[in-house]
Assembly symmetry: C2
Homo-oligomer: 162 residues x 2
């Protein structure tokens, strides 16, 4: 199959996918760090906990900011301006997440779901065209469904059954 | 690393990635089929060519329609309503493209680019904080850059050089 070398908007499909995935990893990092900052039960008496009120509130603020730009990088740059340590933590987590992400599972899911979607779309189109043909010949359609139900013989004539 | 089981908007990162990739495959299919329909030199005298004026014009129309919904499926359903054969071809191509897509390359690119982006962001933040520290002490900054240029000794006093 010939895939135009400029692909879509000037970059190869693989490169586009990689950028989209980097954005996804940034979102996952935000979700993971938010969960860590919430902590199981807030700060302890000794203060020895991952709970960090400032970072938590900063991150909550930024969760509402849409991730524009490529791969969530602009968003991270904004976080960096507001809270340096928080941004470093997010970057660390999105890099660590690279090891956890199951590429194999994504490949399998995407393959399976693309095939299933195709089947579903074709089935829907077939049903729609069947429904349309029924609308064109309502008498026959009613007759056909009656035949299907009780073994035939009840409907009006017009479809070569003996 | 604990990744919350509901991930982002209720589905796992892998599932989200798979859906995004299906949308990408649909876009690639549209691009590939458009290229095929254009043909190298239009229809021949015998009419035996892949060039198909109706399908080409239909697809050109749909190239302007944004792919909403999951994985480009809604877009394909719209194409299906307008031109059944064209939609079947697009589905065939996106399924065939699954075999051509280089998962390995995406994994490598995403890993490399995430690490590079992190480095770039950290470098930008370091430069910004350096620039800010210069603004706080403008005399010293001017002096430092003068030192860098001509080997020192010309700037005003104030930074323990002998």
């Amino acid at each position: 199959m010939f895939v135009p070398s400029d692909g879509i908007s000037g970059s190869s499909p693989e490169r586009r996918a990689a950028t989209a995935l980097r954005a996804l990893f940034t979102q996952v990092a935000a979700r993971v760090v938010l969960e860590q900052l919430q902590g199981p039960a807030g700060p302890t008496l000794t203060g020895h906990t991952s709970y960090n009120q400032t970072a938590y509130l900063d991150l909550m603020d930024f969760m509402g900011v849409p991730m524009k730009g490529e791969g969530g990088d602009e968003w991270l740059a904004l976080v960096m301006k507001k809270n340096h340590a928080l941004a470093l933590r997010l970057m660390e987590v999105r890099e660590a997440y690279l090891e956890e992400f199951s590429w194999q599972q994504v490949a399998e899911l995407a393959t399976k779901e693309t095939k299933e979607s195709n089947t579903k779309l074709m089935r829907a189109a077939a049903m729609a065209s069947l429904a349309a043909s029924f609308r064109e010949a309502p008498g026959q359609a009613a007759c056909l469904s009656a035949d299907d139900m009780d073994g035939g013989g009840m409907g009006p004539a017009g479809h070569g059954s003996p």
